[in-house]
């Protein structure tokens, strides 16, 4: 079996952070990606970390990551998310804020 050079089981994923570029540094220093409940629409029933599938496109402000936490099943292929209650998802504030650990 060939040795994989992947740093974790799942990825790459990316988030686009030009709304708040300081998130890049926070994620790099903490090793976690956070997610909050979407407040304005009921799809955000559970807080979740949201990302885009695939590598970070060139020229886009953001970060790319890998993780050993499996994304939620049944999501659209380009829109992975990790919801409260799923294995490996860290609950920081129940019903409000969650995180996943990067590898």
């Amino acid at each position: 079996m060939a040795e994989s050079n992947r740093p974790a089981r799942f990825g790459p994923f990316h988030r686009r952070t030009h709304m708040d570029p300081s998130e890049n540094e926070k994620v790099a220093s903490s090793g976690h990606v956070w997610g909050r409940q979407r407040r304005n629409i009921f799809a955000g029933y559970r807080p979740a970390v949201k990302a885009w599938a695939g590598p970070l496109p060139e020229e886009i402000v953001g970060y790319e990551f890998f993780t050993d936490v499996a994304p939620d099943p049944g999501q659209a292929p380009d829109w992975p998310q990790w919801s409260e209650g799923r294995s490996g998802v860290i609950v920081l504030e129940p019903g409000e804020l969650v995180a996943i650990l990067l590898s």
Binding site: N5, R6, P7, A8, G11, R15, R16, T17, H18, M19, D20, P21, E23, N24, E25, V27, A28, G31, W34, G35, R36, Q37, R38, R39, N40, I41, F42, A43, G44, Y45, R46, K50, A51, W52, L56, E59, I60, V61, G62, Y63, E64, F65, F66, T67, G74, Q75, A76, P77, D78, W79, L97, L102, S103
Partner: protein
């Protein structure tokens, strides 16, 4: 309240979003709530079903979600396409087990009702993290 699950994704411009889905969207600017700056809305179809719409302003992708307990997602999707003139050619993905409307040609969707109408209301071992900062301007 039921959570929602994605049923289709589509690519369209923001102008097309405003034209084909003439409802009020809320800006989602909190990075912890969405993977990119987004527009979101909870809308009710004429037939009574609810849909959650999220549009990524960077990616130009719309995601349409239905309540997880929707009994017949194909029927609700057909209703959605009766009210929203989104061409099938713009669909990037649809949920397995859910059928897109039959007999609708790619660009011949029904005409949308306007805002006054009744339709929908409101590497080696790679690092695990690679970041790109904003370009500094001189």
């Amino acid at each position: 309240m039921d959570p929602a699950v994605p049923v289709i994704t589509a690519r369209l411009s923001e102008a097309e979003l405003a034209k084909w889905l003439p409802i009020r969207f809320d800006a989602i600017d909190d990075p912890l709530q969405a993977p990119e700056p987004s527009l979101g809305a909870l809308a009710q179809l004429d037939a009574g079903g609810y849909v959650v719409l999220t549009y990524g302003k960077d990616s130009g992708q719309l995601i349409v979600e239905f309540p997880v307990n929707t009994r017949n997602r194909t029927a609700l999707l057909a209703q959605f396409f009766r009210e929203v003139p989104l061409p099938l050619s713009r669909i990037l993905w649809h949920q397995k087990g859910t059928r897109l409307p039959q007999g609708k040609t790619e660009d011949s969707a029904v005409v949308a009702k306007g805002q006054n109408g009744k339709s929908i209301v409101q590497r080696v071992k790679r690092s695990a993290l690679r970041a790109q900062a904003p370009t500094k301007r001189k």
